[in-house]
Amino acid sequence: MSEMTRVALDAMGGDNAPEEIIKGAVDAVHKRKDIQVLLTGKEEVLKNTLSAYTYPKEQIEIVNATEVIQMAEPPVAAVRGKRDSSIVVAMKLVRRGEADAFVSAGNSGAVLAGGQILIGKIKGVERTPLAPLIPTARGVALLVDCGANVDARPSHLVQFAQMGSIYMEHVIGKKNPTVGIVNIGAEEEKGNALVKETFPLLKACRNINFVGSVEARDIPSGSVDVVVCEAFVGNVILKLYEGVGGTLIKKIKASMMTSLRSKAGALLVKPALKSTLKSFDASEYGGAPLLGLKGLVVKTHGSSTAKEVCTSIIQCVAFKEQKISEKIQGAVQGTQDTNS
């Protein structure tokens, strides 16, 4: 049997905590025998919620944390001030090596800031980007960075490309993933100062498969596997992606209900439509990893349900088995040696 992956799970974080978070943990240990979940949060609350389920006892453990960081709290002050919160306690488990990974649907800023402050960056990593998987016509693409580093520098984007490539290849299983930088045109001379300065650096980077610029309209078709940009741009892309997707589905559903004829047609296309929409369901892909830390940190949507929590827990196994942190350190230091 393979080695156990220990996942510290913030049981108090997110709109549906603790019920959906705990259900996600129970689902994960039913699916995988090689996962142990360490639930952090108020012991009594967690015990009560867990008591509704049957599950292999040795695979779920409660670690008491008396405080909760609320969704709207200022992140850095909360991480520094609430030292007995479910987020901080869970991250310290990773820091001490008692857990391999941390998953949270809680306060995004606290998760991002806490990741660096409490777990720490891998030596040589300049910034730690948040990298969600986004559905495309060809499967998925990794959008890196989508929320951690506004005002990034060219050297940061080069590392984002390297770390994103490692994640796509070894966790998602995409061989030699293509990398594109988000731009407003295909030509090398297009773009703002950051893109123009980064482009030649990516071109010269030997451990990635850089294919040039990618325009936002080409991302959904799956034109590249790793989409590199600074966080402001990445966040806009992600939110627009979600917004357009949601609106389109609503409009299609509404138009199908306008007449008897369209209703009959809807019945016929329903199975095909359902399976297509499923491939564009974000909860199928789990949460977004924060890349470049000494342990894995996965941020799931604040509105995550058990399904997304379960997928996020399971995605930690590949991260550990594939020794992603070691690979990132090797790639980043290899580049620095080359440049020095």
């Binding site: 850095v76 520094r80 402050i117 030596k123």
Partner: protein, 76 residues
Amino acid sequence: MEFEKLQEIIAEVMNVTKDEVQPETKFVEDLSADSLDVLQIITEIEEAFDIEIDNEDADKIVTVQDAVDQIKKVVE
């Protein structure tokens, strides 16, 4: 003692040589640290010296010597 340990921690986090970390070195200006880098260093200090530095005191740390002074203040 505090300074040598601190040199090690800062060099590791900021990926610089120990020689680049001197008492007068400024975290942001000289080492290109951002606010999270500084807080990561403070967490490492807290672990290494088994102390807790208040947020208010942490905000006052600009140079390496400031950090040394904070450690001494808490330890004493």
